[in-house]
């Protein structure tokens, strides 16, 4: 990755990259390299801002979620972040696209369908589930407790798609519907 691309990456972290540069970066041959660099820099930045990330890697999805929420999660041991009342979403489009890459929808890179659809499945079985069995924990994080095989995943996705269709594309939620539909169709 040459100096110019590295510079672009760096300016992206400060929300100062222009779209043209970012496009150039995204079309760089070795995306693994780019991704690795981004992650390393984010790690450093987090350390500098005294944020605690998970020990085994960057919780990027968490960071995005946090930015979206606009506030620090109280249940995690993070130093409170001062958030202005005005909307904090200032990331340029280019950075968002890049973030999507990082989260794992790599441009053409293989995507493991087993982990693609994150479901938190509770113990089911033929026994009548008690009320407690359907009480999900408050955590928003979803853990795949039950591995679905491909056929099961496909069926699950089919249900999600049909439901998204009933719910949304024509319905009053507009783009939310498309988003759900795209999300439900998994990884294409």
């Amino acid at each position: 990755m040459d100096e110019r691309l590295r510079e672009t990456l760096s300016s992206m972290m400060d929300d100062e990259a222009d779209e043209l540069s970012v496009r150039r970066l995204l079309s760089h041959g070795n995306q693994e390299d780019v991704r690795g660099q981004w992650q390393r820099w984010q790690q450093i930045r987090d350390l500098m801002h005294e944020q605690h990330g998970p020990a085994d890697g960057i919780d990027v999805a968490g960071a995005v979620r946090e930015a979206l929420d606009g506030h620090a999660r109280s249940e995690q041991a993070r130093s409170p972040v001062e958030v202005p009342r005005v909307s904090v979403w200032r990331w340029p489009v280019a950075a968002m696209v890049f973030m999507a890459l990082i989260v794992g929808f790599g441009a053409g890179a293989g995507w493991d369908t087993r982990t693609g659809v994150s479901v938190q499945a509770l113990a089911g079985g033929s026994a009548e589930p008690s009320a407690s069995a359907v009480t999900l924990s408050a955590a928003v994080e979803e853990v795949a407790l039950q591995r679905l095989d491909e056929d099961q995943l496909r069926q699950m996705r089919q249900y999600l798609l049909e439901h998204a269709q009933h719910n949304s594309v024509g319905a009053g939620r507009g783009s939310v519907g498309y988003a759900r539909l795209v999300s439900a169709s998994g990884n294409y």
Partner: protein, 347 residues
């Protein structure tokens, strides 16, 4: 004796009376005031929501939005134009390669990159989109408490925040950020009873303008194209009472049935309370064994249950943006008719 009552004592008495009256009136007034504020607020919130329906289709705009649920984050670029009573839009997926959906009126074209594992007809299931489903704003004020939750700025536009708190445990709460001029939904969240955000949708880049060129609405990806024509001319199926071979003996308050297309070898019906929706799929169990119980992706719950009818196993799946407990209750309330079983045996 002095007949003239001392003015001071009269004054005192009047003052005391007035004070007493004040004591009585003020609390009542205060309560009235807060009630007026609350109901005024609810009215104002509903007024904003009434602008939402037409805004979504009749506003022209272009932008990029992000959709996050659980650990997944998707990003899409959209151009939406409303002209001469017709909706045209183009969505381009920003994640993982290219793919786009272009809709012009009732024609939908979807272009996908060539990925072997995804069946094309999975992406646009056959059957009509449920346009009639929520073309008018359903009165969901009974099930959600509307409140104005402040103002904000999203993607460069001033917005008003409308919170719709679930009035019971059978549904989630919603929060909508509406652009002030047009009422366009620019951000929304679905939250559970603990206030946890289950699903987050937000425009990160937005331009509301009528000046959307034809180029922006043309398919630009090279790849396999699949087209569907949304058939909104189809009459809504009557789904009150007997519904295609099975009935629901219970549904959460406020959820009413709506027409829905067929799904696989079974039937499906969708229900909505005006804000949230769930779909019920009942199919005979084939070779595929599905895990029973509850799963959740973001705000969407999938609850599956197997039921034996006339010695034939059926799979009941309830999918929707409702709490798992509610999905379970709905699934438990599905009763498959013997007639349905007989009909299936014949096919």
């Amino acid at each position: 004796m002095n007949n003239r009552v001392s003015s001071r004592s009269v004054f005192g008495a009047v003052a005391a009376l007035v004070a007493l009256l004040c004591l009585l009136i003020n609390p009542v007034r205060a309560e009235l005031a807060s009630e007026t504020t609350k109901s005024g607020e609810a009215t104002a919130a509903m007024a904003w929501l009434e602008r939402l329906g037409p805004a979504l289709n009749m506003t022209s705009y272009r932008g990029v939005f992000v959709y996050a649920r659980g650990d997944q984050v998707h990003s899409m670029r959209i151009a939406h134009r409303y002209r001469n009573g017709r909706v045209e839009e183009r969505l381009v997926m920003q994640d993982g390669g290219s793919g786009e959906i272009v809709r012009k009126g009732m024609n939908v074209v979807c272009v996908l990159p060539d990925r072997g594992r995804v069946r094309l007809d999975e992406v646009i299931p056959s059957g009509p989109f449920a346009e009639a489903f929520t073309s008018q704003l359903m009165p969901f004020g009974r099930w959600y408490l509307p409140e104005l939750a402040g103002e904000d700025r999203v993607a460069g536009y001033d917005v008003v925040i409308v919170a719709l708190g679930a009035r019971d445990d059978d549904r989630y709460s919603h929060r909508l950020w509406l652009e002030k001029e047009t009422g366009l939904l620019v951000k929304s969240q679905v939250r559970d009873v603990n206030g946890e955000v289950l699903e987050h949708f937000q425009f990160t880049d937005l331009e509301i303008t009528d000046d959307i060129s034809d180029d922006e609405l043309e398919v630009q990806t090279r790849g396999r194209e699949i087209s569907r024509t949304l058939d909104d001319g189809r009459k809504q199926e009557s789904s009150v009472g007997r519904m295609n071979g099975w009935t629901l003996s219970w549904q959460p308050e406020g959820f009413v049935p709506a027409a829905a297309p067929r799904s696989g070898s079974g039937k499906a019906v969708a229900f909505s309370d005006g804000l949230a929706a769930f779909s019920v799929f009942v199919e005979p169990v084939g070779r595929l064994k599905m895990p029973t119980g509850a799963s959740r992706i973001g705000a969407t719950t999938i609850y599956m249950r197997e039921v034996m009818v006339s010695d034939r196993p059926f799979l009941v799946a309830v999918v929707g943006e409702i709490p798992p407990g509610t999905a379970r209750k709905v699934a438990d309330a599905v009763e498959v008719d013997d007639d349905f079983v007989a009909e299936l045996s014949g096919s």
